[in-house]
């Protein structure tokens, strides 16, 4: 067996594997907590969880907010990188992109509230200019039921994130292949499909997954900018976790465990699909 001689290589991986075990353990425990009833194991909580009206409202609302925020930040971010990457690297532009990254999400949420709230800076400025009769004329943009404030905050924070994740990819794009294709008479579409897309796709998928799970289950921004109904999943789970009844505590575990399960499987599948092609690329990349 090859296992023995390889043992030495495994030692440096022990801390990382311990960390993985720690995360895995936490997920197993949230499953255990979701099936532990007063008299033994039960899936009763899952059954009654799916009878909760709040759950469906929360899931569809979170899905809507997540879908809009993720797709817009990816599209806009990718678009900016595609057209501007040649001069953003090594310029003041890159420093400006870092600024929103410095602030926590809830601070950015507060900033959106300060700016776009009904008694915010924009509303006040419009009144001073005589474009508004009163405070109530300004539309309710934050702490609204449609989730506009939450989406704006996420877009504002995530577009820079997308930029910073994609810029290194575009900086490393093998441009000489593009010239080869052009010399051989290939079209721009060929350049895109043979060079750009295979390089960008893994990072795009990664960013897509990170943003989706983050926005779907983050507590900080909706707690600040959301309305009391419908609630994003994390706010609902938080309420349930600190709720009065034991049932609700179990709902919190069940809900988060289900999301973890779905997202975990989804990311594993997409990485297995990606990896088949990716290691061909990375193999040639390492042997420089």
């Amino acid at each position: 067996m090859k296992w023995r001689p390889n043992n030495k290589i495994l030692y440096p991986l022990i801390p990382a594997l311990l960390f993985l075990l720690f995360v895995l353990y936490s997920l197993v425990m949230s499953f255990v907590e979701s099936v532990r009833g007063p008299d033994g194991w039960t899936f009763e909580y899952y059954r009654s969880l799916f009878e909760e009206k709040r759950l469906y409202a929360s899931i569809s609302y979170s899905f809507f907010v997540t879908f809009i925020s993720v797709s817009l930040s990816l599209l806009i971010g990718w678009g900016i990188v595609r057209s501007c990457h040649s001069f953003i690297e090594k310029s003041v532009g890159k420093w400006m992109v870092w600024i929103p990254m410095l602030f926590p999400h809830f601070v950015w949420g507060y900033f959106v509230l300060l700016l776009l709230g009904q008694s915010g800076i924009v509303s006040s400025a419009l009144f001073q200019l005589g474009w508004l009769e009163s405070r109530e004329d300004f539309p309710i943009l934050v702490q609204d039921r449609s989730g506009f404030g939450i989406i704006i905050t996420y877009l504002w924070k995530e577009i820079p994130f997308v930029l910073l994740m994609l810029l290194p990819v575009y900086a490393q794009l093998p441009k000489q292949y593009g010239e080869v294709i052009q010399v051989l008479g290939g079209s721009r579409r060929h350049v895109f499909s043979t060079i750009e897309w295979p390089w960008v796709k893994p990072v795009l998928v990664e960013v897509l997954l990170i943003l989706t799970v983050f926005i779907f289950t983050a507590y900080e921004v909706p707690a600040l900018l959301g309305s009391s109904y419908p609630q994003m999943t994390a706010v609902l789970a938080y309420d349930w976790f600190y709720g009065i009844s034991w049932d609700e505590r179990s709902y919190a575990f069940a809900l988060l465990f289900l999301i973890a399960l779905v997202m975990g499987l989804l990311s594993l599948v997409s990485f297995i699909l990606l990896n088949r092609k990716r290691w061909l690329i990375s193999k040639s990349q390492h042997q420089r």
């Binding site: 997920l27 410095l102 700016l115 575990f253």
Partner: protein, 265 residues
């Protein structure tokens, strides 16, 4: 044309908010409908810095962020090096699995750990909070450090070894100086992410570990915009200070008179 469009848009959307928050922290409260006043005042910062709760929270947040950063760098450098310089079966699987925590809801991890933390006596302690802050940060650090070791390559380390340098000396003279860009990014990311955690800290800290994010929410209801703006600006300054601190520490660890510093960035 494209260039000026990009610059003006990022000035408006990225630079301006930061400037506006800073400006708001040194100007009086802007009452709705009244002309904006730009009279300079330090009241926001004074209130922020004089508040005992804030001072404690600031200290505790820095302690937690630095401890998390230290553990992150240790795990990230050890495993990043192995993942980059070694070849073994199942490597790409391990790499994928190590990224997986980023694709899972961190709140599930926090709630799942809660009871175990209570049993171990780590709930409501700052170290328990450090442990749970590792969940959203370690995958990034491993990724960043692995990329750093990829760029470094194995040749330089092998040469140092062949010339008879001890591992610690190699670390001080070759690895640390050449990995500084990656270390800087890892520290920056870890501190920023750690400073952004409300729900993880609230669940595991259980109301007795009061960090800056924990008091940010109640403050929003009780103080005015000038103080809030100062509070908000402080969040952005902390990661910058942390990177500066790490820079100084690494200067102290690094061996003097490096040949490597020339030519290689």
């Amino acid at each position: 044309m494209k260039k000026s469009l990009f610059y003006s848009l990022s000035a408006i959307f990225f630079l301006l908010p930061g400037v506006l928050l800073m400006l708001k922290s040194v100007t009086p409260v802007w009452k709705w409908g009244e002309a904006f006043s730009f009279t300079f005042t330090l009241r926001g910062w004074e209130t922020f810095l004089m508040d005992d709760r804030i001072f404690h929270a600031l200290f505790l947040s820095i302690l937690i962020a630095l401890a998390a950063t230290f553990i992150n760098l240790a795990i990230g450098m050890i495993s990043g090096k192995a993942l980059s310089h070694q070849n073994f079966k199942g490597k790409s699987l391990i790499e994928t699995l190590l990224l997986l925590p980023l694709f899972l809801p961190v709140m599930a991890a926090a709630l799942g750990l809660h009871i175990t933390m209570i049993r171990l006596g780590l709930a409501n302690t700052w170290f328990g909070v450090v442990l749970v802050h590792l969940v959203p940060t370690v995958p990034y650090t491993i990724k960043v450090m692995k990329a750093g070791y990829d760029r470094l390559g194995g040749g330089m380390l092998e040469q140092a070894q062949m010339l008879g340098a001890k591992p610690l000396y190699i670390f001080r003279t070759v690895e640390l100086p050449l990995l500084m860009p990656s270390i800087r990014s890892a520290v920056f990311l870890t501190v920023t992410i750690s400073m952004s955690q409300y729900v993880l800290t609230a669940v595991i800290g259980g109301g007795s570990v009061i960090t800056l994010p924990i008091i940010y929410y109640p403050f929003l209801q009780s103080v005015d915009d000038t103080v809030m703006a100062a509070f908000s600006t402080a969040f952005a300054l902390l990661p910058i200070i942390a990177v500066g601190a790490v820079e100084i520490v690494s200067k102290l660890i690094r061996a003097n008179g490096l040949v490597l510093n020339r030519g290689v960035k």
